[in-house]
C-alpha cells in the first residue's frame, strides 16, 4: 500500500494510457466490423471469406504482431499506434463474427415490413437493422473490450507504456506491491468497462424486456430476438474466451 501512496500519479497516468489503448481499437474495430458484417450476412461468398478470414487474425500471436507491425507500418517499435493497430485487428476478429450473427438473427418479417412501408436501404440500415442488432452485438463488444484490456499489457514487454509496465517494472525490481497494483487496476478497468457496456446495452434494448406481454406476443418475441440474442451472445463469448486464453498463452 505504501508503494501505491507514493506512486499513484504514475499509476493513474499508466491507467489512462491503458484505457486509451484498449478503447480506441474497440471503437475503430467496431466501425470497420459493422459494414463488413452487414455485407457478409447472408451472402454466400462473402460470409465464409470474412468470417474465416477475420478469425484467422486471432491466431497471430500478439507479441509477434507488435514486433512485425512496425516493419509494415514504418513506425517506431515502441509507438502506441502499433498497439492500436494490432488490437484493432483482434477486435475485428471477434466482432465481424458476432455482428454477422447479429444481422442474421434479425426477424425477416420485420425487415420486410420496413421495406414494404417504404424505407430506403440506408435508412432501413440505421433506423431498423442496427438498433435491432444491438443485443447480439453488445455481447461481442463486451468480449472484445475485456480481451483488449488484458492484451494491452503485452505491449509493456517491448516498452509501450500501460498498466502492463507495472508488471515488467515490478518483476525487474522485485516490487510485489507494484505487480499487485497492476493486476488489481487492470481487473478494475475491465469490470467497470464491461458493466458500462452492459448498462448501455440494457438502455438500448429496453423494448426487448418489456415484461407484461400477453403469452402469445411474448412467446413470439422470444423466438424472434430474445433467444437469438442469448445464444449468439453465449456463443460469441465462449469462442472469444477460448481465443483470449490461447492469445494470452502465445504472448
Amino acid at each position: 500500500m505504501n508503494w501505491l501512496t507514493n506512486n499513484w500519479p504514475a499509476v493513474l497516468e499508466l491507467a489512462g494510457a491503458h484505457l486509451m489503448q484498449s478503447v480506441v481499437p474497440v471503437v475503430i474495430g467496431l466501425l470497420i466490423s459493422v459494414p463488413l458484417a452487414r455485407l457478409a450476412a447472408g451472402n454466400r461468398w462473402l460470409r465464409p471469406l470474412f468470417v474465416t478470414g477475420s478469425s484467422l487474425l486471432y491466431t497471430i500471436p500478439s507479441l509477434t504482431l507488435f514486433v512485425v507491425l512496425p516493419l509494415i507500418l514504418g513506425t517506431r517499435i515502441t509507438a502506441v499506434s502499433n498497439v492500436i493497430v494490432a488490437l484493432t485487428l483482434y477486435v475485428i476478429a471477434i466482432l465481424v463474427r458476432s455482428c454477422v450473427d447479429a444481422f442474421e438473427s434479425l426477424d425477416r418479417d420485420v425487415l420486410q415490413a420496413a421495406t414494404a412501408m417504404g424505407y430506403k436501404p440506408a435508412r432501413r440500415f440505421f433506423g431498423v437493422e442496427l438498433p435491432l442488432a444491438v443485443p447480439v452485438m453488445i455481447a461481442g463488444l463486451r468480449v472484445a473490450t475485456v480481451s483488449n484490456i488484458s492484451m494491452v499489457s503485452v505491449g509493456a514487454v517491448i516498452g509501450i507504456q500501460s498498466l502492463g509496465t507495472l508488471f515488467t517494472d515490478g518483476l525487474r525490481r522485485s516490487i510485489v506491491a507494484e505487480i499487485v497494483v497492476g493486476i488489481v487496476a487492470t481487473v478494475v478497468i475491465a469490470v467497470v468497462l464491461d458493466q458500462l457496456l452492459r448498462l448501455l446495452g440494457h438502455t438500448m434494448t429496453r423494448w426487448q424486456r418489456t415484461g407484461t406481454a400477453a403469452p402469445h406476443a411474448s412467446a413470439r418475441r422470444r423466438d424472434d430476438t430474445g433467444d437469438g440474442a442469448d445464444t449468439g451472445g453465449a456463443r460469441g463469448a465462449a469462442g472469444a474466451l477460448a481465443t483470449v486464453e490461447s492469445g494470452g498463452a502465445s504472448a
Partner: protein
C-alpha cells in the same frame, strides 16, 4: 364503368428456381372495393400482392395502380402510397406503438409531434385505447398488435391497402372482431383493399369480390361471393368452397325481415300478453288478431326470456306445461338470414323467435317470411351484380 384502381395485365412470375408462382394473371380491381385473394397454400397470393408494391417484380406482364405502370414509380414512393399489413404484424419491435404508427408519415417528412398526434387518433379508430401509445409491441396481445398494424397501414392515408393474411394468427373470437371492424372501417374510408387469406369463409364475409387462385398460380374464378357460392366456375372452386355453400351464402346477408307480434304466456302467472311491433308495452291478449290466431303460444319466464312453445287446443286453451316444446335457436335483430332461417327451421311452431339484446322476446318471424327475404335478397343481389 367503375374506375379501376388496380390492373394485372398478363402477369406471370417465375422464381429463379423455376417455380411458377403466378401464371398469366389478368385481373381488374375497382376503386374503393375490398377484393380478396383466396386459395390453398403456395398458389401465388402473396406473390401477386407483392407485385403491387414492387416487393416482387413480375417476370412478364404489366401491373398498374391508378393507371400507372408500377415499374415506372420509384419503389419507396410507391410503397408509401400503399398501406401494408401482414400476418405477424411486422411491427418494429424497438419502437413504441405511436412511433410504429407514425412510421410512414415520418418517412415522408412529417414532424414527430404531428405524426404522433395523428397516431394517437388512429389508435381510437382501430379500437385501441390511447394509453397503449407508449407501449412496445412486445407488450401487446396478438390481436392488439394486428390492430396497431392496421393503424400503421392507415397512417399516411393511402388510397390502397394491402393485407396479407392479417388476421390468421389470432384466435377465432378476436379474428371475428377484427373482421367486423375492418368492414366498419371500410364503410367509412372506402379504400381499395386487397386482402389475402386461405380461409374461404373469411373471403366470403369480407370480399366485395373474391379471386380464387388454384395451384400453379392460375386464377380459377373472380366473382362476387354470391356468384362464387351459387356458380363455382369449375370443380376446383366448388371443391375449395366446400359443402353447404347454398346455406352458407345466406350468412353474409343481414335479414331484412319484419317482426310479427307473438302471444306469450307467462309461465309463472299464466297471464297471456301480445309482444312485438306495435306493442311497446305488452298488450293484453284479446283473443283476436294475427298473433291470437296462431296455433302456438310462446311460454316465457318472469324476465320474458323464451322457454318454449305450447300448442293451443281447439278451444283456445293453451296446453299444460307438460306439453312444452323446447324452442329452437334464437334470432337477434341484425343477425344474418342464415341465423333467421335456422331459427325458423328449428322452432316447433315454424316461427323464428326474435329476442332483444337482453334476451327478452321481441317478436317472431314466420318461416315463410324468411324464405321470402331470401328470394328478395337474391333478386336484388342479382340486380346489383349486373350493375357492377
Amino acid at each position: 364503368m367503375t374506375e379501376m384502381a388496380i390492373r394485372y395485365r398478363g402477369v406471370s412470375k417465375v422464381y429463379p428456381d423455376g417455380t411458377t408462382a403466378v401464371d398469366n394473371l389478368d385481373l381488374d380491381v375497382p376503386s374503393g372495393s375490398l377484393t380478396v385473394f383466396v386459395g390453398p397454400s403456395g398458389c401465388g397470393k402473396t406473390t401477386s400482392l407483392r407485385m403491387l408494391n414492387r416487393m416482387v417484380d413480375p417476370t412478364s406482364g404489366v401491373v398498374e395502380v391508378n393507371g400507372q405502370d408500377v415499374s415506372s414509380i420509384p419503389a419507396a414512393q410507391l410503397r408509401r402510397s400503399m398501406g401494408y399489413v401482414m400476418q405477424q404484424s411486422g411491427l418494429l419491435p424497438h419502437k413504441t406503438v405511436e412511433d410504429n404508427i407514425a412510421t410512414v408519415p415520418r418517412l415522408n417528412g412529417v414532424s414527430k409531434k404531428e405524426s404522433r398526434a395523428n397516431a394517437r387518433e388512429l389508435l381510437g379508430s382501430v379500437g385501441l385505447d390511447e394509453s397503449l401509445a407508449t407501449r412496445y409491441p412486445a407488450q401487446l396481445s396478438g390481436g392488439q398488435q394486428q390492430r396497431v398494424g392496421v393503424a400503421r397501414a392507415l397512417a399516411a392515408d393511402p388510397p390502397v391497402l394491402l393485407m396479407d393474411e392479417p388476421f390468421s394468427a389470432v384466435d377465432p373470437v378476436v379474428r371475428q372482431d377484427l373482421q367486423h371492424e375492418l368492414l366498419d372501417l371500410q364503410k367509412r374510408l372506402h379504400r381499395t383493399i386487397i386482402f389475402v387469406t386461405h380461409d374461404i369463409d373469411e373471403a366470403i364475409l369480407l370480399g366485395n369480390r373474391v379471386a380464387v387462385f388454384a395451384r400453379g398460380g392460375r386464377l380459377a374464378q373472380y366473382a362476387t361471393p354470391e356468384e362464387l357460392l351459387r356458380a363455382p366456375a369449375d370443380d376446383f372452386v366448388a371443391d375449395f368452397i366446400g359443402r353447404d355453400r347454398g346455406f352458407r351464402s345466406l350468412s353474409f346477408e343481414n335479414a331484412a325481415v319484419a317482426l310479427q307480434p307473438v302471444t306469450v304466456l307467462a309461465a309463472d302467472t299464466g297471464e297471456r300478453t301480445v309482444v312485438g311491433p306495435g306493442s311497446e308495452n305488452p298488450a293484453p291478449w284479446q283473443g283476436t288478431g294475427a298473433a291470437a290466431s296462431s296455433d302456438w303460444v310462446l311460454a316465457v319466464d318472469e324476465r320474458r326470456h323464451p322457454l318454449g312453445w305450447l300448442p293451443v287446443r281447439s278451444g283456445g286453451e293453451a296446453a299444460g306445461r307438460e306439453e312444452l316444446r323446447v324452442g329452437g335457436t334464437l334470432w337477434h335483430e341484425g343477425d344474418s338470414l342464415r341465423t333467421a332461417l335456422d331459427a325458423a327451421l328449428s322452432s316447433p311452431s315454424g316461427q323464428a323467435v326474435a329476442v332483444h339484446e337482453d334476451g327478452s322476446v321481441a317478436g317472431v318471424v314466420p318461416g315463410e317470411d324468411v324464405m321470402r327475404a331470401i328470394e328478395e335478397q337474391r333478386a336484388t343481389r342479382h340486380h346489383g351484380a349486373e350493375q357492377a
